[in-house]
């Protein structure tokens, strides 16, 4: 359960990751660059969600809604109201956080499934509003022609330039999450996950902390969504459905909610799985479409939760720990 944070190891991992990314950015084809960009954006969402799931013990089934909300706020403000693109980013973050606060406040005080159901419903409502409120959202055809982000004369265009923004955001999210979980507040969150009654007895306002984590995770999703809008230059409701919410949850489940690097790993796994299914499924099962994917994801989710509830990507870490003989710390 516990996060074993070893700063030195993290620095090593960061150096390796940055080097790998730089190498990929230099050598990869545009297709693989776009895959990397999407992984970066999803990492931002997954980091927030893993704080919520791994530390507050709650699950949100509506994070695609927050992601979509961030995207639409950025799109509407920059196209219809002519805002500077950069200014729409904090607006998107703050607005999603405000909505999350309103929805989360009553729900976190109750048992776990209230937040799950409330967010599921919220995600569905966002989707309906995106489709129905045509005057603002453009209905099911969405909003096109979102202007590029610019720094002075230089505009952020092309997959390579975007790597800096997407992975910059991912790095920032990871750094903030790391700083949070190694702070007194992170300890309090782990305490709440261990025993809510005891945490309260030590002066920790458990439901307020859970709400704060939920709002924070929504803010991360809103930021990722806003960046996504500028990255693809259009938004439409189909990108933000319930399935997307469940995919975000699966990223955390695959990566394991208690490890920070679980978020990028889970995001990468799900994106690559999706691309693989898109590329090879027609060849393997002619005529088969999304249904196989749905069954596959459903069964995968069940299998992981029943067989490897700490995430699939634990094998290597466990092996390393055994080798270095840290038996006593392995609880």
């Amino acid at each position: 359960m516990a996060v074993r944070v070893k700063t030195r190891r993290y620095i090593g991992m960061i150096a390796v990751s940055v080097a790998a990314l730089a190498l990929l950015a230099w050598g990869a084809s545009p297709y693989w660059l776009s895959v990397l960009n999407v992984i970066g954006l999803y990492t931002v969402v997954a980091v927030g969600l893993s704080l919520l799931m791994g530390y507050a013990g709650q699950v949100s089934l509506g994070h695609a809604g927050f992601y979509g909300m961030g995207a639409y706020v950025a799109a509407v403000l920059s196209t219809r109201l002519g805002w500077n693109g950069w200014l729409t980013l904090p607006a998107a973050v703050l607005l999603t956080m405000a909505v999350a606060w309103v929805v989360g406040r009553p729900a976190v005080r109750l048992r776990e499934h209230y937040l799950a159901m409330a967010t599921l419903g919220l995600g569905m409502v966002f989707h309906i509003v995106m489709v129905e409120w045509e005057a603002v959202t453009g209905g099911s055809s969405g909003i096109v022609g979102i202007p590029a982000l610019a720094v002075g004369p230089w505009t952020v265009e092309g997959e390579r330039a975007w790597l800096i923004l997407t992975w910059g955001a991912a790095a920032m999210a990871l750094a903030m999450a790391y700083s949070l979980v190694t702070s007194p507040i992170g300890r309090a969150l782990r305490a709440i996950a261990g025993s809510e009654a005891a945490a309260e007895a030590l002066g920790i306002p458990a439901s307020r902390y859970k709400l704060a984590v939920f709002v924070l995770s929504a803010g991360f999703a809103g930021l990722a969504g806003a960046l996504y809008a500028f990255y693809v230059t259009f938004v439409s409701p189909s990108s933000f459905g319930v399935m997307m919410s469940i995919q975000f949850v699966m990223m955390v489940v695959v990566g394991g909610g208690h490890r920070l690097w679980g978020a990028p790993a889970g995001a990468a796994t799900l994106v690559l799985l999706g691309e693989g299914v898109k590329a090879y499924l027609p060849a393997l099962l002619p005529g088969a479409g999304g249904e196989v994917q749905l069954v596959f994801y459903g069964l995968l989710l069940i299998a992981i939760l029943l067989l490897k509830p700490d995430g699939v990507l634990t094998g290597w870490a466990t092996w390393r720990r055994k080798r270095s003989g840290e038996h006593a710390r392995a609880a």
Binding site: A2, P184, I185, R187, E200, L202, I204, A328
Partner: protein
Amino acid sequence: MPGLLEVRRLTKRFGGVQAVVDVSFSVPPGILYAVIGPNGAGKTTLFNLVSGYLAADSGEVRFNGQSIRGWPAHRIARAGLARTFQNLELFPGMTVLENVMVGCDARVRCGWLDALFGTGRRRAANATSREEARRLLALFSLDGVADIPAGSLAYGMQRMVEIVRAFALRPKLLLLDEPAAGLNPAERQQLAAVLRQARAQGVTVLLVEHDVDLVMTVADRILVLDQGRVLAEGTPEEIQTHPAVVAAYLGEEVS
């Protein structure tokens, strides 16, 4: 002189069952006050009412001069009233040191923004809590197990850690819910030492206990509950000779 904790006519019903009825008592500062009574007498319910884990039907609870009835548990804790639980409630995945640090964290200043952006205040808060927790573990002779996950400790050891963790809040009043339950004689000795150490630090202790012998040796004053009502209140000597207590409860145990 007003007590540190003043309970007035506190009442709680569960459906038709009267768990605590019209209970009044006063805990003066600096003493070890014990609540005894047979199973189902309402001891734990009384504890949960005082510490904010249950809402009372009527009555008043004053702590340190303030009415705390209806306050949420975390606010009562911050006001200086710490408690332990009858069924151990340690954070099993965290080490003993981290468990105690959570208690120390109540007194450090580190907001959400400090935590997220890694300010110097966060670093200082971590250092302060760590240092304080190490000092406390040494004080209670638990420094040997500081880095062991709390969940893997022996049962009796977990009880001590829970008390030290509550103590880390630096409470004015420490509520202990049957701390001797499940302890072997050696561990009971250790517990008595921990209680003495807590009192030496100037903390008032309110103790719910099943073990009458232990209570008679450590308590300054005793409240006897029976079926949710106060049967008697007084010093151990007074309780031992109280006719109602002897008849109803102690008769077969203290002869």
